[in-house]
Amino acid sequence: MTFWLLLTVNSVTFGGLLFLLSAGFSLIFGLMRIPNLTHGSMFMVGAYLGTSLLSGALGITLNFWLAAVIGAVEVALLGALMERLLLRRLAGQQLAQVLVTLGVSFMAADLCLMGWGGDPISVATPPALAGFLRFGGAVFPLYRLAVILIAAVVALALWLMLERTRLGAMIRAGVDDPQMARVVGIRVSQLFTIVFALGAGLAGFAGMIGGPILSVYPGLDQDMLPLALVVVILGGTGSLLGSFVGSIIVGFIYNFGQALLPELAYFILFLPMVLVLALRPQGLFGGQVL
């Protein structure tokens, strides 16, 4: 019983973390029609910047949440710059854009190695959440429960943004039909920058939030990117609901797969992706932003 409970809670936690990572990935994919292969790097860079802020890179030691938010803003700015300076020049050439994102991800990995060294950095759990919650025979770290809450809050905020704001309406129009959106006067290229920055910022934020669970180390980017890819293909590109449901599904498959059939853990993880691609290529919720 404890075993099942522990795995269930952990599945939701991991799903929450994946949602933070993949929501931006999905929006970028949906709007710009390219898988942003630097998304893993943004996750890692956010975590690295966050740890530096935590340990006083600005001259003062920030608290965990402030470090996560400032790190995310920095990554968002980097994302905006990348979109403006690199991807913008290749507008319309999707293959070239994908290759650029891949190249930048290698460069980012090496720059991080130079800047932060090869040693893994462990991120301390915020002191207020360092405790455990006991339930039945199982213990649940408060921090992991908090991650679920954070993911839920971010999901709600994104939903409100997409559903209730002018910007959200423009993004939905852009995902739906970029040509038409342009015709009715939406500046789609500006939208690209905003969404790219937003996605980058979310990934950077997720990196720091994931820090106390995953720690930060060279190669973190390559570990996370395939998971984001699975989530988005499963849920459907450009769909917030899709990435939410996809994240939770992958969280469960990941945890239960590894616990029950460890030999087949990766097979089981990628199987739904293959099935979806074969039977429903647009994903479970493809084509609908919400």
Binding site: F3, L6, L7, N10, F14, A109, D110, L113, G117, G118, D119, P120, I121, S122, A124, F132, A138, V139, P141, R144, P212, I213, L214, S215, Y217, P218, G219, Q222, D223, M224, L227, Y254, N255, F256, G257, Q258, A259, P262, E263, A265, Y266
Partner: protein, 430 residues
């Protein structure tokens, strides 16, 4: 460059010399140089070429960078000399993959004509070049563990100053059974050869002393979150983990987060001193058995640690230490052959015969397969004795001296078994 520095007047005088006079002068100079030194000395005046195969990019870079730092610390300390010869270091980044390792090894041997190779880091890299270095007869000293390279498939040009994969785990198994009095242990390690060989060594030694393995867990090399595996650990009184790289960090976190309290034992990568600054409180109590410990208070180790701190402001782990020791071995071997490494068979024989008493890892000698016979240290991770500004420290609690890769078993008996694998030794009823 040189001409620029020459005073103008002399330069003019030089131009006025006839071509014939210049030629005669140069010839005379060369003759004089030849007369002054006998020929063999000229050969030795050329630097000894040392190749380093390391990994400076990607996930293995942490160990790879430490390897290079260990080598450079040795070279700086000795002013780039080994056995009386100047040393020329050629460093190559394999990228951490077998194909890259093969390419770089070929470059080092065929283009740079190195006399010996240090590295590579990982067993799969070493396996990619083992036949090639044997053909080329290039002495190679690596940190890579792969048991069989000094057991059932020995390579005469390979020396290992670190430890075979299973070597440190055998004393660890003995210690767990006899001193920690553990009876039932769950093993967990990465799903690849290094993991199998470590756990196989632990299981064999642990069972010999009355312990029993309840189950074996094999997470894939890339496992962002170990909680699903930690959740499977039950019905035991101890855990043996064999993780490498940054994985020990995340495993210990997930382990503590799952609320597990059984004592954890590990080997050289799972408790590596280079991880001390990254570990948090969740790792306190971790028992590790390693071929190198920064805690060793000898003149040889203190000099090395101070060198690493001075040059790189870094606490050395086993990768740096073993490369430093490997340099000491090469220097001693080169000394023994009078600085002449041109006869590769003779040089290799001298390297294999090296016996040192005060290296950072303690005394060093090799068995007839070229594998280390040395001291292994059992340490407990805690706050006691912490130095160099660290909060956590691996405090030595027992040393095993003269540990061979065959542990207490006769060589023949050991080699009659298949190499340790996922299913060997098999699980017994427990």
């Amino acid at each position: 460059m040189f001409r620029k520095l020459t005073p103008r007047k002399e330069n003019l005088a030089f131009r006025k010399m006839t071509r014939r006079a210049l030629l005669a002068g140069t010839a005379a100079g060369t003759a004089a140089a030849l007369a002054r030194f006998p020929t063999p000395a000229i050969a030795q005046a050329a630097p000894f070429k040392l190749g380093l195969l390391t990994v400076k990019t990607g996930p293995l870079a942490q160990g790879g960078i430490q390897m290079e730092q260990g080598v450079l610390t040795y070279l700086k300390e000795t002013n780039y000399t080994m056995g009386g010869r100047k040393v020329d270091l050629v460093s190559a980044d394999t990228g951490g993959n077998p194909a890259g390792t093969k390419t770089k090894a070929q470059e080092l041997i065929e283009r740079d004509k190195v006399d010996a190779i240090l590295g590579p880091l990982a067993a799969f890299e070493l396996l990619a070049i083992t036949d090639y270095i044997r053909e080329q007869k290039t002495p190679t000293l690596s940190v890579a563990g792969a048991d069989d390279l000094t057991q059932r498939r020995p390579n005469p040009y390979f020396l290992r100053a670190a430890a075979a994969s299973s070597q440190a785990m055998q004393p660890m198994g003995h210690y767990a059974a006899t001193e920690m009095k553990l009876k039932r242990v769950v093993t967990i390690s990465e799903d690849f050869a290094f993991g199998y060989e470590q756990m196989g060594g632990f299981q064999s030694a642990f069972q010999q002393d009355g312990g029993c393995i309840v189950s074996k867990l094999w997470p894939p090399l890339v496992t962002p979150d170990y909680t699903p595996y930690a959740a499977q650990i039950s019905d035991c009184d101890g855990v043996c983990q064999g993780f490498a790289g940054s994985n020990p960090l995340r495993f210990m976190k997930a382990y503590a987060n799952t609320g597990l309290k059984y004592p954890v034992v590990t080997g050289e990568t799972g408790g590596d001193d280079a991880l001390l600054k990254s570990f948090g409180e969740e790792a306190i109590g971790l028992i590790s058995c390693t071929p190198y410990t920064v805690d060793l208070d000898t003149a040889g180790n203190n000099r090395f640690v101070e060198g690493m701190l001075k040059n790189y402001d870094t606490i050395p782990g086993q990768y740096a230490a073993i490369m430093y020791v490997s340099c000491q071995v090469i220097a001693a071997g080169l000394q023994a052959v009078g600085g002449d490494a041109s006869d590769k068979e003779k040089f290799m024989a001298a390297l294999r015969a090296v016996s040192l008493t005060d290296t950072p890892r303690g005394p060093v000698k090799f068995d007839h397969f070229g594998n280390i016979v040395g001291t292994f240290y059992v340490r407990r991770l805690g706050t006691e004795g912490a130095k160099y500004g660290l909060k956590l420290w691996n405090k030595t609690i027992k040393t095993y001296e003269n540990v061979s890769q065959f542990w207490t078993w006769p060589e023949q008996e050991f080699l009659a078994h298949p190499v340790y694998s996922r299913d060997y030794p098999p699980l017994t009823k427990c």
